[in-house]
């Protein structure tokens, strides 16, 4: 029941905030978002699940109820958490709360609407990670789009309308493709429900029957492609990524934080749940192709980031790169690979959130994000810059920060993958990303933060207010905590991952 309470509280809270006056909407929203935040921590502490939600593991906080009967089929409300979704729920609540705090400075008009939409989005995100029935899940999946569109469209930058409509339509097309693919799959299973665990297990037991017009393998492949394409847009995987930089650059800082921090994880989470759990055999069959997608995302994304002058664009493209690691880890089908991919979702959520917030804080004071417009900021805002440097090194995968843990797990798992032929080569190529990322982040930092102070926009630059810096600091601490003790999450993740089909728990080898 805890999940339902969380979602309900957030949803009602969003309505309340929507009605609240602009003056203290921010504080109100912060207070409201603290509830799911605490709730998330409580759930984390009480988490007693084990195994994979889709493969018949023990679910935590499971809840199910009748909703719609559709002829023979029944669409039910079914929620529950396992080791994969639990961390993501925590991530969502944490980031939303911090994002709201970070919004106090930049959002100076129509606050109540803004915070209401943010909370609405949080409710949707929680639902996405908690839902275990396809239709319910899909409701939340699509519900996230609406607030995103408005948040970018209303409070965004100069090209916000273009960016908003782009992300809106692009991702919606993707969802439609995915929907048809998945539904086609389910209707050829001898089951009369869209309950994800049931579907996954039916698929795992090869109970798929081919319709007249095609074969089982063709159907599986077709569905896999449709779903992969659908989720690839959300992740985003090159070449479906072009909406991301536009959206990020135009979106206001808090929205960028949530977009990079959580919304992208929807895509990877869905990939993990649908493509890589339900259709593991297809995924392994085309492992090399997928790995190529992953590697291209990593290197190409990093190269693009290298060419940018806008700090936000840099971080945006680097997200593409980081998501490539996730795909690589997933396709490895080893505990460390898939678990590392999941851990990377969390880690990247925190770090990219940190980066976007830091850039936002700088923007609030300098009113520019162009690398060329400023230098020597470290002289004027030492604390912010210090944290920003910390985040940047986290992004570069500095040990004892979560980024390193995640990337290391992914690389280790991928290197040892038994299903991906030539895995070491793929891994080595992908790993070169860590050099490029160091390259563009160091270049950007050198130009903006160091050197003699210079600012082309004439604004008075001083230290940032506390409520801007505090969230950054909190995130930095989280990043370090997860880097020092990844088992805070990685333990439950491994437990859930090990039950996935075709995942090699042991690293094999002659010992």
């Amino acid at each position: 029941m805890l999940i339902e309470t969380l979602i309900a509280v957030t949803f009602v809270g969003s309505l309340v905030t929507f009605a609240a006056p602009n003056r203290w909407a921010g504080e109100l929203a912060f207070g409201i978002s603290a509830l799911p935040f605490v709730g998330g921590l409580v759930m984390y502490s009480q988490f007693d699940g084990s195994g994979n939600a889709l493969m018949g593991g023990e679910l935590a906080f499971e809840q199910s109820a009748e909703w719609i009967t559709l002829g023979a089929y029944s669409l039910n409300w079914h929620t529950g958490l396992d080791g994969i979704s639990m961390p993501l729920v925590v991530l969502t609540t944490v980031l939303t709360t911090l994002a709201i705090a970070s919004a106090w400075t930049p959002i100076d008009e129509r606050q109540s609407q803004f915070y209401g939409l943010v909370l609405f989005m949080e409710a949707g995100l929680l639902g996405v990670f908690a839902a275990l029935d396809f239709f319910v899940w899909f409701v939340f999946w699509e519900a996230v789009l609406v607030p995103l569109y408005l948040l970018i469209g209303i409070w965004g930058g100069p090209r916000r309308k273009y960016a908003a409509i782009k992300v809106f339509v692009y991702t919606n097309v993707a969802s439609l493709a995915m929907f048809i693919g998945f539904v086609a799959l389910v209707f050829n299973l001898p089951i009369e429900t869209f309950d994800l665990p049931t579907v996954a297990q039916a698929l795992a037991n090869d109970r798929l029957q081919a319709p007249g017009w095609t074969s089982v393998s063709a159907l599986k492949t077709g569905a896999f492609v449709a779903m992969f394409a659908g989720f690839a847009v959300k992740v985003p995987v090159v070449p479906f990524h072009t909406w991301l930089p536009d959206a990020h650059v135009e979106a206001p800082t808090p929205v960028s934080v949530l977009l990079a921090g959580v919304l992208l994880k929807m895509g990877t989470y869905a990939l993990l749940r649908f493509n890589f759990t339900m259709l593991a055999d297809v995924a392994t069959q085309y492992a090399e192709v997928i790995a190529v997608f992953a590697v291209v995302s990593v290197i190409y994304g990093a190269l693009l980031a290298l060419a940018q002058q806008d700090l936000k664009r840099i971080v945006a493209y680097s997200s593409v790169s980081s998501m490539g690691y996730v795909i690589l880890g997933l396709v490895a089908y080893t505990t460390y690979g898939v678990g590392g991919a999941t851990f990377q979702m969390i880690s990247h959520g925190l770090i990219s959130g940190l980066m976007f917030m830091a850039v936002g804080v700088i923007y609030n004071t300098t009113h520019t994000r162009m690398v060329t417009d400023m230098s020597g900021l470290a002289d004027r805002m030492p604390v912010t810059v210090g944290i920003l440097i910390g985040g940047a090194f986290g992004y570069m995968g500095l040990p004892l920060m979560s980024g390193f843990a995640a990337e290391f797990f992914v690389f280790l798992g991928a290197f040892r993958s038994g299903t991906l032929s030539g895995a070491p080569v793929f891994t080595a190529v992908a790993m070169f990303g860590i050099v490029i990322v160091a390259g563009y982040l160091l270049f950007a930092m050198q130009r903006t933060l160091f050197g003699p102070f210079r600012l082309d926009t004439d604004y008075e630059v001083g230290p940032a207010p506390l409520h801007d810096v505090a969230p950054l600091f909190a995130l930095l601490l989280l990043v370090i905590a997860l880097g020092v003790a990844p088992d805070l999450f990685f333990d439950m993740i491994r437990d859930a991952v090990n039950q996935m089909p075709l995942v090699e728990a042991d690293l094999g080898g002659g010992y």
Binding site: W67, I68, L70, G71, F138, V146, L150, F179, V183, F187
Partner: protein
């Protein structure tokens, strides 16, 4: 509420109530021709509509027409039947009528001949109700004409408004042509089968050698219905009629009248022209419907994408939605087609609310005369937040986004298509719905995102018309509530569809 005490013909109560209301209004009109006692007239009409709505709801709950419940009622030698399909659609008609009459209370301020207006609406509603339960081509045609004639008049109601008149003319001319096509088709069907009762037609058609004539007739009948449902190529009247007509009437026609066309189509084509039988004969009307569906949704959505006037955009989008609903009939040749047919019905139900609501918002805009184009709507949200919120709900629901009823109905429709093996129909629908998202979001953008230009901002919103507001808010609430409460709808619709199918 023991129903068996009532005579069988009481099953027609909804239609009868509507008819009676219209007669009462006519009476008022004849007594006091230039009565402009708006509360009384609107009140009467609304009462009638609400009453029939209540009765319909009661019947639905009580299980009238449910084969497993109180059973299907067949009246007048099988000319009329009362089953779940008829009741479900009567429910749509009654609720749309209610919203329209309530909204018209404000909209008609300062217009003459209001009694006629309301009685015409009630007559049209009566026609729809009878269409929903007509089980013979004769009753189909008569009720069809009853609806058509009154709606011609309604569209042209604003006599001094060129747009309204032009709309009426076009609607009438195309309508006359289409009804001629329809009746000629009926005559051909009669020629082959020698019967007009749907069931009998199906029997008699078996093993006829006049396949060509029969096929000709079937397709012409299809054409007649395509006119009512505003499906390509019989849709040409729709954009103009919806644009020119008074906004409440546009809503009324685009939701209720369209649904009426569909219910007739569903019943006639499932009962009188059963798929398998006619396939064996070589009359593949499903193929024709598939063509219509694809062409209709594509043309509707693509034409809507680049409109400048919100009302006309809605008109085209309504054509597009006709295409979606046609999927219900187009995928009928597949396995468990009750699902997809029922999905079509569900979509029409949800559409009845969200689309009427959208047009009523247009009515509100016309009432304030803020203008018709997207530019005129810029920044309206800051001046009329509630109405804008409702409009946003309608737009997103029409686009098929959660948490609104339109999401459920649209995706269940696609689901049904895939389930019936017509994944390509669903794919075409998907492409279109993605496009529709673009133009629906233009409205949301105009309302919430865009900054109003000065001359737009000047248009003062002086008063808040209570009637229109009530109708809009009601529609919005229902649109939202329909997602969580979709269970009953699906059950009724699917079992209704199951009952229709042989």
């Amino acid at each position: 509420m023991a129903l068996y005490e009532l005579p069988e013909w009481a099953g027609l109560a909804p239609a009868v109530i509507l008819a009676a209301t219209s007669l009462v209004l006519l009476l008022v009109d004849s007594i006091d021709p230039d009565s402009s006692n708006r509360p009384a007239l609107a009140g009467t009409a609304t009462t009638g509509a609400l009453l029939s709505l209540a009765v319909t709801g009661w019947f639905l709950v009580a299980g009238v027409g449910d084969p497993d419940g109180r059973g299907v009622i067949s009246l007048f030698g099988g000319q009329l039947v009362v089953d779940q399909t008829s009741l479900l659609f009567t429910f749509i008609f009654a609720s749309v009528t209610t919203m329209v009459t309530v909204a018209s209370y404000d909209y008609l301020r300062g217009h003459a001949y209001q009694a006629e207006y309301y009685s015409l609406i009630m007559l049209a509603a009566t026609g729809m109700a009878t269409m929903a339960s007509s089980a013979s081509l004769a009753t189909v045609f008569v009720s069809f004409e009853l609806l058509s004639l009154s709606s011609y008049a309604l569209v042209a109601y604003l006599k001094d408004n060129r747009g309204s008149v032009e709309a009426g003319l076009k609607y009438f001319l195309i309508g006359a042509l289409s009804s001629a096509v329809l009746v000629y088709g009926i005559s051909l069907v009669y020629a082959v089968t020698g019967s007009l009762r749907l069931a009998a037609v199906a029997e008699a058609a078996a093993g006829t050698e006049l396949v060509g004539v029969l096929g000709l007739g079937v397709l012409m009948v299809l054409g007649g219905f395509a006119f009512k449902t505003a499906s390509v190529p019989f849709h040409f009247w729709a954009p103009e009629a919806y644009e020119g007509a008074p906004a409440p009437i546009s809503g009324f026609l685009s939701s209720a009248s369209k649904a009426a066309g569909f219910v007739v189509a569903f019943r006639v084509f499932t009962v009188a022209f059963p798929v398998e039988q006619f396939l064996d004969l070589g009359v593949d009307w499903v193929f024709a419907v598939q063509i219509l569906a694809v062409v209709t949704m594509t043309l509707g959505n693509f034409a809507a994408a680049t409109q400048n006037e919100v009302k006309r955009m809605l008109a085209y989008s309504s054509v597009g939605h006709a295409g979606y609903a046609l999927i219900g009939l187009a995928a009928i040749s597949g396995p468990n087609s009750d699902l997809v047919l029922g999905a079509g019905m569900m979509h029409l139900l949800v559409y009845g609310f969200m689309n009427t609501g959208a047009f009523l918002f247009i009515a509100l805009a016309e009432y304030w005369d803020v203008g018709r184009t997207f530019e005129d709507y810029y920044g309206l949200a800051s001046r009329a937040p509630v109405a804008s919120l409702a409009m946003t709900v309608f737009m997103l629901s029409l686009a098929g986004l959660p948490p609104f009823g339109g999401f459920a109905s649209k995706y269940i429709l696609f689901m049904g298509a895939v389930n019936a093996g017509f994944w390509w129909l669903a794919a075409v629908g998907a492409v279109n719905s993605a496009l529709s998202l673009y133009y629906y979001s233009r409205v949301v953008k105009a309302l919430w995102i865009e900054e109003p230009s000065d001359d737009v901002a000047k248009v003062g919103i002086t008063e808040q018309p209570i009637g229109i507001y009530a109708a809009i808010v009601f529609a919005a609430v229902v649109t939202v509530a329909l997602l969580p409460a979709f269970g009953p709808v699906t059950e009724t619709a699917v079992s209704a569809a199951g009952a229709l199918l042989p």
